[in-house]
Symmetry: C2
Subunit: 297 residues, 2 copies
């Protein structure tokens, strides 16, 4: 794909994800306030990087990305639930997310907890409902298994728990990497891995794509830490320097700003190399990789 058509592809897919997410909430028969709270955070915007990784991987393997749409939405629901719960007063106690009041600020803590619980549970339902002809039962089961592992007590939840436990302590680089590999890495990796499963990647492609995603995940987090120091407040939608003032371990704090930038470049290069080795139509994935390296919010 040419650069222009890559951008167009990603814009179209992002739109498809956002339309599908809204429909999935609309069709629910449940208390109105619960639906509103779930929709509020799902529709609060964001880069939709996880669904786009999945859909771009499916596309890179020559399959119709529409087949992966429900799984892409499931991933975004789980990502969104994690943001809602992370923002709670007893967790990170954030009032703003993407420049808007956080879920509990609008709907109250109880409803925010329930909206998160609802999104997490609903995500699994979406994958079960896909037609057997589009994704066979055994592959859907594998998709659910890997999603639960990526999101659960050996994945994202483990990362968040380690993050909570590490607050106020001086972390080593390996402890910091444990947190990031779990808190954000596992779900980013899952996004690509699920795309490989849906797209029918062979063993070698799957291995290279998994490596691509692992490096991309670390790059993503390092960039996040750098942005916290360099980014403009209005662009990232939260107070700049909040990590420093919260005394949180970050890559720049452990490696210096220059060292963090070097590490970012290393992981981006490694990601691009593994992507090339995967021998897929990876233009959209390469473009996402560039966006992560250069993103300013």
């Amino acid at each position: 794909m040419a650069q222009l058509s890559v951008e167009q592809f990603l814009n179209e897919q992002k739109q498809a994800v956002e339309t599908a997410l809204s429909r999935y909430i609309e069709r629910l028969e449940g208390p109105a306030k619960l639906k509103k709270a779930m929709a509020y955070s799902l529709e609060a915007g964001g880069k939709r990087i996880r669904p786009l990784l999945l859909l771009s991987t499916v596309r890179a393997l020559g399959k119709d990305p529409a087949v992966g749409l429900p799984v892409a939405c499931a991933i975004e629901m789980i990502h969104t639930y994690s943001l809602i719960h992370d923002d709670l007063p007893s967790m990170d106690n954030d009032d703003l997310r993407r420049g808007k009041p956080t879920n509990h600020k609008v709907f109250g803590e109880a409803m925010a907890i329930l909206a998160g619980d609802g999104l997490l549970t609903y995500a699994f339902q979406l994958i079960t409902e896909i037609d057997d002809e589009r994704i066979p039962p055994s592959v859907r089961l594998r998709l659910i298994e890997r999603l639960a592992k990526a999101a659960g007590p050996e994945g994202m939840v483990a990362g968040q728990a380690a993050d909570m436990e590490g607050e106020g302590k001086t972390l080593t680089l390996s402890e910091l990497e444990y947190i990031h590999r779990h808190k954000t890495g596992k779900m980013l990796q899952y996004s690509v891995h699920a795309g490989a499963l849906i797209g029918g990647a062979d063993a070698r492609q799957t291995r290279e794509l998994d490596e691509f995603a692992a490096h991309l995940g670390l790059a993503f987090q390092i960039r996040d830490d750098i942005l916290d120091i360099e980014g403009a407040e209005e662009k990232i939608g939260k107070p700049v320097g909040s990590d420093q003032s919260n005394n949180k371990a970050t890559y720049p704090a452990l490696l210096s700003l220059a060292g963090a930038k070097e590490k970012l470049a290393f992981h981006i290069e490694a990601a691009q190399r593994h992507l090339r080795n995967a021998d897929v139509d990876g233009a959209a994935l390469a473009y996402i990789c560039e966006l992560v390296a250069a993103r300013d919010h």
Copy 2:
């Protein structure tokens, strides 16, 4: 089964569930405090009525209940997560559960939220991991789909959200029944339905067992409300009359105590009738039904 062997069967199954639950947590590679928080509430006791309903239904259909054990544990994990989240300060704000300090009292709010999130996610993983030979992929997918529906934003989470919204308001009987059918009913019904799926029930048996479970679920809740008035504090492990003092809608409040007892008897009889109509070896299910009618905690 004779009465004695029924009691023995249920005790053995309860033991099997508790052993399996502990093993499932032990095997996790994750932060120690997260595992402790998850295990604490899982191991806090309770009647294990949901897993026992599932395993007794599998047994009633002539199959080995061991086949259903991972699904029984998944149900108990989801039930336990819901208790942890319901007890949080922003929800019911309970300090005691089964006579022991609630999860957030011991591990803090953040870890309690994460323990709940972890249990919910892990529950789905357990079902995916069952061998194809024991439960085929298409049935496992159905089990996951129904579990997500029973627990999610059209099931248990909807009931809890409606309950939160109804606090301090005067509810009608139909609003109260909506809350109970969702908050506790859906998961009790799922327990029997999952047993029917695993045990290979035919359409008529499934229908009768579903009806059995629906009536049992309502009976369970009515008995709970009656206990809140009549029960001894040390037996139920929370202050007696807490519903009244919290101004919560209950069956006795809406129907009088005598009216509630009449309704309890009606649902127990209907449950037993549907169980007989299912033409299964239902001794253990009938016994659980009697326990619900007579339970004093």
